[in-house]
């Protein structure tokens, strides 16, 4: 079991959901300057293959439903990193009518990266932090989603049609 835990912490395949401007910080993180692959972190093409959902920036309602769907399609254990201020409080879109302000209300978040934009160093730092948390067994936000499924669904249903966008299990 420990071996699995260890490997989980050392091998994080992420799906960077390029919802907002934050995505622009990821190419430098991946390429030769910062090279996140040395930590075993790789971008993946589909949610099925990913462990880590990276929400890079603000989420409109239109995007949120897709994020929720992607999240639900990921196999457990799965992790979410909120990226930039927008995921915490709306950031510069704090008074926008169609941007959600608090990501936590809709999907459980393991870790936030503060800033607008956070620099690649901050991103890497977050990854390492998450790695630590997984190794210690602290990154359990995905369990929260299962436990409080009704609550999350209720929150989600306030902004979009849950019936249509949820994955039927």
């Amino acid at each position: 079991m420990k071996l699995f835990k260890f490997s989980q912490s050392r091998s994080l395949w992420m799906m960077h959901f390029c919802t907002g401007c934050g995505a622009v910080e990821l190419p430098p993180t991946m390429t030769s300057r910062f090279d996140m692959e040395r930590f075993g972190i790789m971008p993946m093409a589909t949610p099925r293959q990913s462990d880590l959902l990276l929400i890079t920036g603000y989420l409109t309602i239109k995007t949120l439903k897709r994020v929720v769907r992607a999240y639900e399609q990921m196999p457990t254990p799965r992790y979410v990193i909120g990226f930039g201020s927008c995921t915490i409080n709306g950031g510069m879109y704090w008074d926008s009518y169609n941007v959600i302000k608090k990501l936590e209300l809709y999907i459980p978040v393991d870790l936030y990266i503060n800033g607008c934009m956070p620099r690649p160093e901050a991103i890497i730092d977050a990854f390492l932090k998450l790695r630590e948390m997984i190794a210690k067994g602290e990154a359990n936000a995905w369990k929260k989603y299962i436990e409080n499924y009704e609550w999350y669904k209720k929150n989600q249903s306030e902004v979009f049609d849950v019936e249509k966008w949820s994955v039927k299990k």
Binding site: G40, A45, T46, R48, D51, P77
Partner: protein, 295 residues
């Protein structure tokens, strides 16, 4: 006893294959002026994938697909001599058994991917199968002279016949060897021919719906596949006289392939197939003519 032996054998090859994948990532990283992950990273990936819970399954065939894929490659391995280290069953089959077992894996994967009801997966499979019209035939044509000249269809006998350095088929039949190199690149699905996975294009193709342990299976399938595919090539063209040479040979063939991979863009599918019907086919035919002339 032999079952245990086989287990170890399979485990060994799987791990070596995963390490090869690690090397590939490392080498690619260095080519791109990066540091790259540790060599054992793919092992961690596989472990992680097997540790995942609730992978989505789209039905029986979708579930069995990766299992069949691994079955096929594992069965192939049993018929493939690793150097003149006799495989368990080499005496019961030959080139054609290996070639036909080799397609069981892709077929299983194709069936599994097909049932996922995702068009990306099917497009990937369609590409994979079409690519076979390119590289598989070149590979076959490249190896034919060697078998023909030694008057056998047994890989093991071909290895024995090649003996030491100057009798390597790679040297005796250089034209075929070059054609074979072209084919290996496609056989491994490395980059100018990486159309099947093409993550940016068709979201990793056949694997699009595979997560968790399914993906884990596919990883070890790929790992063993690397050894088997390069191994087949090495067995035929270098006649490795012991298991060490076998792995050294496969390593270098794989390395060459990875280096090409690191600097290459990707063909379109019809370009890839047509490419094989151009120069590599010419080489393959010339190779066949060579063996006619030399005989």
């Amino acid at each position: 006893m032999s079952i245990l032996y086989f287990f170890l054998y399979l485990l060994l090859v799987t791990i070596v294959g995963l390490l090869y994948m690690g090397v590939a990532r490392k080498v690619t990283a260095h080519v791109q002026n990066r540091y790259g992950p540790p060599i054992y990273q793919p092992i961690l990936d596989v472990l992680k994938l097997f540790g995942k819970k609730d992978a989505a399954s789209h039905g029986v065939m979708h579930t069995l697909g990766p299992v069949i894929a691994y079955t096929g490659i594992g069965a192939t391995l049993l018929f493939l001599p690793l150097g003149n280290h006799t495989p368990l069953l080499h005496f019961n089959g030959d080139l054609f058994v290996v070639l036909y077992l080799l397609v069981v894996g892709p077929l299983g994967m194709a069936l599994g991917a097909g049932e996922s009801a995702n068009s990306n997966a099917t497009i990937g499979i369609a590409r994979a199968l079409s690519m076979m019209l390119g590289y598989e035939i070149i590979f076959f044509m490249a190896t034919l002279p060697v078998f023909y000249a030694n008057h056998t269809a047994s890989i093991y006998k071909v290895i024995l016949a090649q003996g030491t350095f100057p009798k390597w088929a790679a040297i005796m039949y250089p034209i075929s060897f070059i054609a074979g190199l072209f084919a290996v690149q496609g056989l491994l699905g490395e980059k100018p021919f990486e159309l099947v996975i093409a993550p940016h294009e068709i979201a990793s193709g056949p694997m699009v719906e595979y997560g968790g342990k399914f993906l884990g299976f596919l990883q070890i399938w790929h790992a063993v596949g690397i050894i088997v595919e390069t191994g087949l090539f090495v067995d035929i063209f270098f006649g490795p006289q012991n298991i060490l040479w076998f792995f050294v040979g496969t390593f270098f063939v794989f390395l060459a392939s990875v280096l090409v991979n690191a600097v290459m863009p990707r063909f379109r599918i019809e370009q890839a197939v047509r490419f094989y019907w151009g120069i590599p086919l010419l080489f393959a035919i010339l190779g066949i003519l060579q063996v006619y002339l030399w005989r």
